[in-house]
């Protein structure tokens, strides 16, 4: 899952940081993912579907 943020945010315990506007993969750990997604400034980036030929 990829996320983006409206602000620069650091999560020291889950060893994750993200800059405002950056799109980044979440860490593998499920607890870390839940903690990061709980932040109001962070939102999931939906993958765009591939176009068929």
């Amino acid at each position: 899952m990829r996320v983006t943020s409206t602000k620069d945010i650091v999560f020291p315990k889950v060893k994750f940081n993200i800059r405002a506007g950056e799109v980044k993969d979440l860490p593998e750990d499920k607890d870390a993912q839940a903690r990061i997604l709980a932040e109001a400034e962070i939102s999931e980036v939906r993958e765009r579907g591939k176009l068929k030929n």
Binding site: T6, K7, I9, V10, K13, R35, I36, E39, A40, E41
Partner: protein
């Protein structure tokens, strides 16, 4: 033996439900603190009878168990609303306009049910203390020629334990060059006037929490919802260059002015800015203000108390940020 540095102390805060003060809530904000003294207090009473020996103390007990201390931070639009909610008690939040939300904090006169918070303090790997039913005894703001600084003095129940997983976002940390002060005969008059350059400004909101009323028979601890606010005192000061008699005349004639102090930061929408604003209805100037500096400039140090006004009330604080409190209710859970 492991040593723990001060910077390993991390603080999280969440405002508790109004229906359940003293019930733990998750941290909604993590505070990059600059000063901290919050801790458990086990107040002792000493048994000092005459028993035929000279040593004064023969026994002791814990008279009161609670927590008290202060927390210092640089104000920004993320942290400040939580402390304004705790210090003033009432909040009204707008719906979105230009990507921003306006939160208006006013004095709640129902002093027996103040807003309460859960505060968690992680002290490195030693322990994480959780303070429930925390109320704001006082909130102080000071700014001169540096970063502004807020200090909240808090009183809470005796701590338990907790765990936290903190996060820190980069915010506009407000400083002296980001605020303006406008005086006027009323708040509406002040808002239309030009800003007056100040050397410094302080504001103190003192709730005079009635801690002596929190200890009743059957327990030496504070019960859930057991802390009530006392009488509200709003005081402060500002200093400015003594360049004409306007400010001195206010003190001499007890001319009561309104004051609007506004900090503005980054743009949120196309024109909305991060804002912390204090609207003070009626300032009563209490102390003789002139300071004669032989090596410097003449300065007026105005000390004030805020008087209630039927139209302008005593104090309204406004925060503009990107938090939709009307739906999340992080500042005022029901």
């Amino acid at each position: 033996m492991a040593k723990t540095s001060g910077t390993q102390t991390l603080i999280g805060l969440g405002i508790e439900s109004a229906a359940a003060p003293g019930t733990a809530v998750a941290e909604a904000v993590f505070i990059p603190w600059t000063d901290l003294s919050m801790q458990a207090i086990a107040e002792k009473a000493l048994f000092q009878p005459a028993r035929g020996i000279r040593n004064m103390v023969a026994n002791s007990m814990i008279r009161r168990k609670y927590a008290q201390g202060s927390l210092g931070f640089v104000p920004n639009v993320k942290i400040m609303p939580y402390f304004l909610s705790l210090a003033l008690g009432s909040v009204s939040s707008s719906s979105v306009a230009d990507s921003a939300y306006t939160h208006t904090f006013t004095v709640a006169n129902t002093n027996a049910s103040p807003k309460t918070a859960t505060i968690s303090v992680e002290e490195g790997a030693i322990q994480t203390a959780q303070y429930l039913n925390a109320v704001c005894n006082s909130l102080n703001l000071e700014v001169s020629d540096e970063y502004a600084k807020c200090t909240a003095e808090l009183i809470a129940q005796f701590p338990g334990t907790d765990t936290i997983s903190e996060s820190y976002s980069t915010e506009t940390e407000f400083a002296y060059h980001q605020y303006t002060a406008k005086f006027g005969t009323s708040l509406s008059n002040a808002s239309g006037n030009s800003a007056t350059p100040l050397k410094s400004f302080t504001l103190n909101i003192n709730n005079n929490v009635l801690i002596d009323e929190a200890f009743l028979s059957g327990s030496n601890e504070i019960a859930d919802g057991g802390l009530a606010m006392g009488r509200l005192e709003i005081t402060g000061s500002y200093s400015l260059h003594f360049s004409d008699t306007t400010e001195l005349a206010k003190y001499k004639a007890n001319t009561k002015n309104a004051l609007i102090v506004t900090f503005e930061g980054a743009l949120i929408g196309s024109s909305s800015k991060e804002t912390i604003q204090f609207k003070l209805g009626k300032l009563v100037l209490t102390d003789p203000p002139v300071e004669y500096n032989i090596d410097g400039l003449l300065v007026l140090n105005q000390t004030f108390t805020v008087e209630y006004d039927a139209t302008d009330v005593e104090l309204t604080a406004v925060v503009i940020n990107a938090v939709n409190n009307a739906s999340s209710h992080v500042y005022d859970p029901s």
